[in-house]
């Protein structure tokens, strides 16, 4: 495969089960570098579990997960994050009892001060890194219009602001691939649009690849380059939004056989 269009993420035949239920049952998908890929499917299709499997949060039963060519199946979550695949959660995980700015600083990689010995022995290096990261954090907060709240506890933010904070925080971790689990859920439409515009901008300016789970079909149709459809633990289809929207299998998956144009579902 050439570098021109190498896949950022290749998932082959991964499975994950809870007791007797196979939530993910041999899912296979590819996310191209620099793309914005949407992962859709009815409730219970295994989308979030698939996120958990590829980011190391759920035990992976067989199969392979490659991030930019590196095999990462069964790696610990923190190692996967450090390699450049960073995720957000369906139920936003703002670190509520920490100030917004600390949420941001926390995510920055390569802080020597996260090692006890360095805190004592290399205070200068720790402070230097902290200053550099703080500037970067302020810039990002400004871009997400959160700078006014920098010193407030994250728990005082509104639900929508927390989603923005989670995205901004994930960006502090210098991701190559961002996995967003329902970034628009519970966000008002104008803020949602802003979030989608941020995704487009980050893709063009920073070259970040996106894979996002979303139920808002309008957002998926207008903003994704590629749509992957899951049902019952498997990927049943993937392709450009229009092609997917017109496919009968998708409509079957959502409605159990009744034919209704997808635009009406949205």
């Amino acid at each position: 495969m050439t570098d021109a269009s190498r896949p950022m993420l290749e998932v082959r035949d991964v499975a994950c089960s809870f007791g007797g239920l196979r939530a993910v049952d041999g899912a296979t998908l590819t996310v191209e570098e620099g793309s914005i890929t949407a992962l859709i499917g009815p409730n219970g299709a295994g989308k979030t579990t698939l996120f958990n499997v590829v980011t190391g949060f759920c035990p992976c039963e067989g199969g392979s997960v490659r991030l930019a060519g590196q095999e990462i199946a069964r790696w610990a979550p923190h190692r996967i994050a450090r390699l450049g695949m960073v995720r957000t959660f369906q139920l936003t995980k703002a670190l509520s009892a920490m100030p917004v700015i600390d949420n941001m600083l926390l995510a920055a990689p390569d802080q020597p001060g996260e090692r006890l010995a360095n805190v004592v022995l290399r205070p200068r290096a720790v402070h230097a890194r902290e200053r550099a990261v703080r500037d970067q954090a302020r810039e990002l907060l400004a871009a997400f219009r959160l700078e006014r709240h920098a010193d407030e506890y994250a728990g005082t933010l509104s639900g929508g602001q927390r989603k923005l904070l989670e995205l901004a925080r994930a960006l502090m971790a210098r991701p190559r691939l961002l996995l967003l689990d329902e970034p628009l859920a519970g966000v008002n439409p104008s803020l949602g649009l802003e979030l989608l515009q941020h995704m487009q901008r980050l893709r063009t300016q920073e070259g970040i690849t996106f894979l996002f789970i979303e139920h808002d079909m309008e957002a998926v149709m207008n903003h994704a380059d590629l749509v992957v459809v899951m049902a019952e633990g498997r990927v049943i289809l993937s392709g450009p939004p229009r092609a997917v929207a017109a496919d009968d299998r998708v409509i079957d998956a959502y409605l159990g056989g009744k034919h209704v144009p997808l635009e009406e579902i949205a």
Partner: protein
């Protein structure tokens, strides 16, 4: 005024009473500082702090008595043993959910105490160990000489221990505050808030929790060494789970996520526990001993009702934490 109150006031004005309270408060400050870094800053529910205290006391005593190790080296050795034990518990149990981990720590601490009670060849069983504090007795006399040179008398010989235990406690508080303000401390707080969020941002949560537990074990071992010096002997009764729970009461009194609050909580706690000795009630000694804990319990309930964050805790962190 009637009799009982007069007796109480009489006891409370004695220097000897306050140096005794001060030593115990210093010992429990060290113990509860370990709980604070675990419970208040990392979200680890450690119910086994008494176990680390026991290991510190016994390991120090055994190293001095059986292996003739110099006292200070024996203290370092005792800390090393406590940390090693913490790593064994941590690596086997820290992956468990918080409540299961707390049961594991409680059980481990009880296992240590049972071992101390029954391995008579090593620990002297219920007879305990003594004869480990000659080096300290010399140092203590030296400090007393210095004190009397500047005109400070020592009623019950506890002033040197009081000074040293609080010096160590203050150094520990300053060091812990310094660590807590560092990026390392920030990761601990993040793990307390949401471990999965921390892991998703590239933090190896297990490593940080093990380090937090190792620091708690170090502080627990130090408190055990001072307890041994205070009693002049080591026996299993000193390390019943009660010790961990008094540590928790100190923690709640002072407030979660405040190192300074721990010292305050320990002083209030031991003043209450010891001052009740002077109250002359028509009750037997065991009844009075129980009454002390009833009093402390009532105080904690009142505190939870009116100031749940403790005296120095931050209310916002408590409310937003959930």
């Amino acid at each position: 005024m009637s009799g009982p109150l007069a007796i109480a006031l009489g006891g409370l004005t004695e220097v000897g009473f306050w140096s005794g309270v001060g030593v115990l408060a210093g010992i429990y400050t060290l113990l509860a500082l370990g709980l604070q870094i675990n419970v208040g800053f990392t979200g680890i529910l450690n119910f086994g702090q008494a176990g680390f205290m026991a290991i510190g006391a016994y390991a120090m005593a055994i190293l001095v008595i059986d292996f003739r190790v110099p006292f200070l080296l024996a203290v370092l050795g005792a800390i090393a043993v406590a940390v090693a034990f913490a790593m064994v518990i941590g690596m086997s149990s820290l992956r468990l959910r918080a409540d299961y981990f707390s049961i594991a720590t409680l059980a481990a601490a009880e296992a240590v105490r049972m071992f101390a009670q029954n391995a008579q060849g090593v620990t002297g069983g219920n007879q305990g160990l003594y004869g480990f504090d000659r080096a300290w007795a010399d140092a203590s006399r030296q400090i007393q000489d210095w004190l009397s040179a500047i005109g400070i008398g020592d009623a019950n010989g506890l002033l040197p221990l009081l000074l040293v235990v609080w010096l160590v406690a203050l150094v520990a508080i300053v060091a812990l505050r310094f660590l807590q303000r560092s990026p390392w401390g920030r990761v601990l707080r993040a793990i307390r808030e949401d471990e999965d969020a921390a892991r998703s941002l590239g933090k190896n949560a297990l490593r940080f929790r093990l380090q937090s537990l190792a620091i708690a074990a170090t502080l627990g071992a130090l408190s055990g060494v001072f307890l041994a010096l205070n009693l002049s002997f080591v026996n299993p009764q000193a390390f019943e789970p009660q010790a961990s729970f008094i540590g928790f009461a100190v923690l709640i009194l002072g407030g979660l996520a405040s190192y300074g609050g721990v010292a305050f909580g320990a002083i209030i706690m031991w003043t209450l526990l010891e001052a009740t000795r002077f109250v002359d009630l028509p009750l037997s000694d065991t009844q009075i001993a129980s009454l002390r804990f009833v009093l402390v319990g009532a105080l904690l309930i009142g505190l939870m009702a009116f100031r749940p964050q403790g005296v120095f805790g931050k209310r916002q962190e408590m409310v937003l934490g959930d």
